[in-house]
Amino acid sequence: MNILVCVSRVPDTTTRILVGPDGKTADKTGVKFVLNPFDEFALEEGLRLREKNGGSVTAVTVAGEVAKDILRTSLAMGADKVAIIKTENEFDSYFTAQNLAEFASNRAFDIILLGKQSIDYDSLQIPAYLGELLGIPSIGVVSKLQIEGNNVSAERDIEGGKEIVSAQLPCIISAQKGLNEPRYPKLPDIMKAKSKPIEEVAAIDCQPRTTILEMSIPSKKRAGVILDGSDGSLDKLVTLLHEEAKVI
């Protein structure tokens, strides 16, 4: 099975986000970047498919030179090959999807796995976009995946329940938390990953279809009425919810 996993490099979830000097993107100073948490589920699923069916796992990212660290993480987790589609410019989801499609188009992957979203821009659009560009099915936000021969059956969360979607390989799957339990890389594998080759591909040029005008941090200011747990305070809370907030 020829497996592609698309990964991205994002600020760790504990990061306090600040607006950078350009006023349009986040300040990267002092920020710890990690492999996108949802991509860990995608990669883990890829590794399990390889362990079951044989074949190889390639991890790819569209990013600048700095993102090689997450490719090393991918190698340490068990990816066979890694590649970076390099660009040092800011780009949008369209640019990413076009470049991933270009990379995947003549490499005959049986399955392409991604995290359901990248936790920076939270766009959730690459999986279906890529599916359309490659002319193959895509199933997003998958929490259970079964593959028998060429038949794919994927369970995904929908509002107030779950649905099962069927499709045929080759297919794109985006991973929801819960799809599996990602492995931790072992120290010897982390060491070995440092000397493995990283394929470099130049990004194809395509004009972004969206432009960011400004970035801001929303105010979190709230009334902040703090009460104790006494009966009188609870009466007051219910009155506030009823009369001030009008929510009950």
Partner: protein
């Protein structure tokens, strides 16, 4: 004069509320920039279609094709893109719900259109539409615009209020799409609804529990208050990672980003990644026995107290007030 196409997704009896939210957003765009709102439904019945009239839509195209009763997001995408092309629409609006995230990117790709997902605000500025979109799970926002002539936006559910605005004229048209077998590459084979349980993404009120709940056996305290409020049950990452609650209930950066009217955080300390997922709530109530818990810095009302004592009493009082 722009043509705005709104995807009307069939729900149980009428179209989904999120479709009417999109129709209302389209109405706001038309009010300031002029234009016409067109609805696109797939294999809908007449009663369903009539309901669109109340939300400012003047024309609904009911799309039909062979096997259009099958739920297939790839087929829906192909059919909607065909209709959009034939009408020459300028703007397409979808809900960023579970099917919207599968359909909208495909339609955008088919129309060579720029696409901005999960918008929480749309406004006209000159010849542009400026979209507001949360990033980093709501820790920040961007204002962004689309550079192509045809523009596709998806809207975060529960943010735009569906407001009634009866259309002065109303027409139902039918549209026959011609699809190929490859358009049916994904198909829903079964659906399991959580009967009687509301999803955190749909609920007006959410009661969430954190590690301080001590174990799954105590979650009935959370569930009971959620039931009293006709709301949904949520959970922090710690609770989900401990296996006490299913992942579908997780609120936060690696769970769901929610925006209910009322959010009650019970024994949740307020980690950055949790706050990111719920800070869009209209009113936040925090209950925690640690008076220094970060959650108290972002709440409207806080109770410093033990949830095991506070929750039953609060439930009783809220039940009595309804």
């Amino acid at each position: 004069m722009s043509k705005i196409l709104v995807f009307l997704e069939s729900g149980k009896d009428s179209f989904k509320r999120t479709s009417f939210e999109a129709a209302t957003a389209a109405g706001t765009l038309v009010a300031s920039g002029g234009g016409q709102i067109i609805g696109a439904a797939i294999n809908a019945d007449d009663n369903q279609i009539q309901s669109a009239k109340d939300y400012g839509i003047s024309e609904v195209y009911n799309i039909k094709y062979e096997n259009c009763d099958k739920v297939s997001t790839t087929a829906y995408s192909a059919a909607i893109a065909q209709l959009a092309k034939s009408l020459g629409v300028d703007v397409l609006l979808f809900s960023a719900n579970s099917h919207g995230i599968e359909i909208a990117p495909r339609v955008a790709a088919k129309l060579s259109a720029g696409f901005i997902s999960d918008c929480i605000g749309l406004e006209i500025s000159g010849t542009d539409i400026i979209a507001r979109k949360p990033i980093y799970a709501g820790k920040a926002q961007i204002k962004t615009k689309i550079n192509t002539d045809v523009k596709v936006f998806s809207l975060r559910p529960n943010v735009f209020t569906a407001m009634k605005n009866e259309s002065s004229s109303f027409e139902i048209k039918s549209y026959d799409a011609s699809l190929e077998s490859k358009d049916f590459s994904c198909e829903v084979s079964s659906v399991a609804k959580n009967e009687g349980k509301l999803d955190v993404l749909e609920a007006d009120a959410i009661v969430s529990g954190g590690r301080g709940i001590k174990g799954p056996e105590n979650y009935h305290l959370i569930e009971r208050l959620a039931t009293t409020l006709h709301g949904a049950v949520g959970a922090s990452r710690a609770v989900v990672d401990a296996g006490w609650r299913p992942h579908a209930e997780q609120v936060g950066q690696t769970g769901k980003t929610v925006s209910p009217t009322l959010y009650i955080a019970c024994a949740i300390s307020g980690a950055v990644q949790h706050l990111a997922g719920m800070s869009g709530s209209k009113y936040i109530v925090a209950i925690n026995k640690d008076k220094d818990a970060p959650i108290f810095k972002v709440c409207d009302y806080g109770i410093v107290g033990d949830i095991f004592e506070v929750l039953p009493k609060l439930n009783e009082r809220i039940a009595a007030s309804r």
